[in-house]
């Protein structure tokens, strides 16, 4: 039993790290642009397929795929921003329309991956040596530990970026007060494009890690990650990057512990229930002030 719990904690941290990254990128995007990216999960899975292709056709190991994915997804996000967002903000009801549009983007992305890779589940047949490492009394796969280390590094980097650099501070300022930041003379369009690109890059990188940590993925896995991202973002408080990081880890832990103690199906329902419950009971998230909206 204790071993199971210990296992649950270690896996919870690993999975939670990934959830934290999925959530933090979505929350950055929401914070700056006030749009909810329904396609976020698909972007993540696109990152997994990206690593898959690099590995199977060019023999690039996943660790090397990370920076390549970061750069490619950043560029793709930057381009996508200018295709999608400027027109959107001119519409009657930008909020409603943004839901619809990203819904369409998510269908498009899933369909593209389906066309390219068919519906079968894929996995990257790459292993580290040694395959697993002993942590206290339990064995953990090296790939998962590496992924954990990488999520920790990325999270720390992101926090440093947001709190110590000028563009990072501008992003946070834009989240808190989008009008004021324009008055101060920041080019909000460029900043938004940057936020979109950054979020997309993070999604892509997270996808590579997903391919390392989880046994398989397919064209339709995206929805799962979108939902997880929603859960994390809502738990952490909409537009609160630090909240999302913490909430991601907490949710990962909760989910892995739930799979220890509950049947699989119930564990899944727990996730949805946490989401619904949080929105009703603490709409500003676990760490927000209790005022509504």
């Amino acid at each position: 039993m204790e071993l199971l719990i210990l296992n649950g904690i270690v896996n919870g941290l690993i999975v939670g790290g990934i959830y934290a990254l999925v959530g933090v990128s979505l929350t950055l995007l929401y914070g700056v642009l006030r749009v909810v990216n329904f396609a976020h999960g698909e972007f993540v899975i696109a990152g997994s397929f990206f690593a898959y292709v690099l590995f199977t056709s060019l023999n690039v190991p996943p660790l090397l795929a990370l920076p390549v994915a970061a750069i490619s997804f950043f560029a793709a996000g930057w381009g996508l921003y200018y295709v999608l967002i400027p027109r959107l903000s001119r519409s009657d009801d930008p909020e409603l329309m943004s839901f619809l549009m990203f819904y369409g983007v998510s269908i498009t992305a899933a369909a593209l991956m389906l066309l390219l890779f068919e519906a079968d589940s894929r996995s990257i047949d790459y292993s580290f040596t040694p395959i697993s490492i002993q942590v206290g009394p339990i064995y953990v796969s090296t790939a998962r530990l590496v992924a954990l280390a990488i999520t920790a590094v990325i999270s720390a980097g992101l926090a440093l970026f947001l709190f110590r650099t000028l563009p990072g501070k501008a992003l946070r300022a834009a989240i808190m007060n989008p009008e004021a930041i324009q008055i101060v003379g920041v080019d909000i369009v460029r900043l938004s494009a940057f936020a979109f690109a950054l979020a997309t890059a993070l999604a892509g990188v997270t996808g590579v890690l997903v391919a390392l940590v989880f046994p398989a993925f397919n064209a339709f896995s995206g929805t799962e990650y979108t939902i997880i991202a929603f859960i994390v973002v809502v738990l952490g408080g909409l537009g609160n990057p630090v909240g999302a990081l913490v909430a991601g880890v907490l949710f990962g832990l909760a989910e892995q512990m739930a799979t220890v103690f509950l049947p699989q199906a119930l564990a899944q329902i727990v996730g949805f229930a946490i989401l619904v419950g949080t929105i009703f009971l603490r709409p500003s998230g676990l760490f927000g002030t209790s005022t509504k909206k």
């Binding site: 909810v36 027109r87 409603l96 619809l100 369909a111 009703f280």
Partner: protein, 321 residues
């Protein structure tokens, strides 16, 4: 006696009801004759289903201002209600179908607290609740829901009968929405959509009005699910709770234009026809084109077909149902 000033209103009403009669009559005659002339029953069955789904969705989105991304939950519950009653309780189909509608209403009541939420929160919660519904049904004992194989309704399929039942459902749905669009409830819903607080201070019982709208929006997809289960003779959680059902409903309604009665009809007709065309030519591209079409619609035709026309010609608003 009516004063002179109300004459223009009368003549506008005349045009309006003439249009209603023309569009409604044409739709009904056309669909009624489909099996008679041996046209493609399956295609037209689904066309009517999507017209109904998109129109009912319009009550939630166009009239009430909610975007339920878990709309499929009502459809799925309806499908399983009919299937379980027919298969496990040996109900005749005609008796089972009303229970599908009731199941939709019950689910709507269960979800009623979500109407307090707005915008993104409502959308996300709706999606999550649909996920919960799917998981609950998937994990119910196999004797009830048939587990992952789903339920076969047996030899009770009767395509032409179910076609006409679908048609009846569509007609009732459109009549209801036509009534709603002119009724006081409809005005209260629209006012609530535009500014809930202001509407409440004008004496509108906002929670109640929203609940009524929500129940209308939930009833019809549930019945649709039941009829479709009967038509295809099989239900399983993968198809009955498929998010693509929500996607298509939303897209068809938006394509035509939310907020008018004709919008979702025209949107569904145009898009189902387009879908069929594309499906025949490039079966693999179907999903991709659906996605791209959605993005394109939002970017280039955000008010939908009917909405864009009325934007250009505001004076037509009074004449177009």
């Amino acid at each position: 006696m009516m004063p002179v000033s109300s004459r223009p209103q009368d003549s506008a009403d005349r045009i309006y009801f003439t249009l209603v009669a023309l569009i409604g009559g044409a739709l009904m005659i056309y669909f009624a004759l489909v099996p008679v002339f041996g046209l493609n029953v399956a295609f037209h069955f689904y066309l009517m289903l999507w017209i109904t789904m998109a129109s009912a969705f319009n009550v939630s989105s166009g009239f009430s201002g909610y975007l339920p991304f878990g709309y499929v939950a009502f459809y799925g519950i309806g499908a399983f209600t009919t299937a379980i009653l027919v298969k496990k309780a040996a109900f005749p189909v005609f008796l089972a179908l009303p229970f599908s509608g009731v199941a939709g209403l019950v689910l709507a009541l269960l979800f009623a607290p979500t109407l307090r939420l707005s915008g993104i929160y409502f959308g996300i919660v709706s999606l999550a609740l649909a996920g919960i519904c799917r998981l609950v049904i998937t994990n119910m004992p196999e004797e009830i829901t048939g587990g992952s194989f789903g339920l076969q309704l047996g030899s009770r399929a009767h395509p032409v009968q179910s076609f006409y039942v679908m048609m009846a459902v569509m007609v009732v749905a459109l009549a209801t929405i036509l009534w709603l669009s002119r009724s006081r409830l409809g005005k209260a819903l629209r006012a609530t959509r535009d500014d809930a607080d202001a509407a409440e201070m004008m004496g509108i019982n906002v929670p109640r009005v929203r609940l009524y709208g929500w129940m209308i929006a939930a009833f019809f997809p549930a019945v649709c699910g039941g009829v479709e289960a009967w038509y295809t003779n099989v239900v399983d959680t993968e198809t009955a709770f498929n998010t693509l059902i929500t996607a298509k409903t939303v897209i068809y309604a938006v394509a035509g234009g939310l907020g008018t009665v004709t919008g979702p009809i025209i949107g569904a007709v145009a898009m189902v026809w387009l879908d069929e065309l594309i499906w025949r030519q490039f079966p693999l591209l179907n999903l991709l084109i659906l996605g791209v079409a959605t993005v394109a619609l939002v970017l280039f035709l955000p008010r939908g077909i009917v909405g864009s026309i009325l934007r250009r010609k505001p004076q037509w608003r009074r004449y177009v149902p």
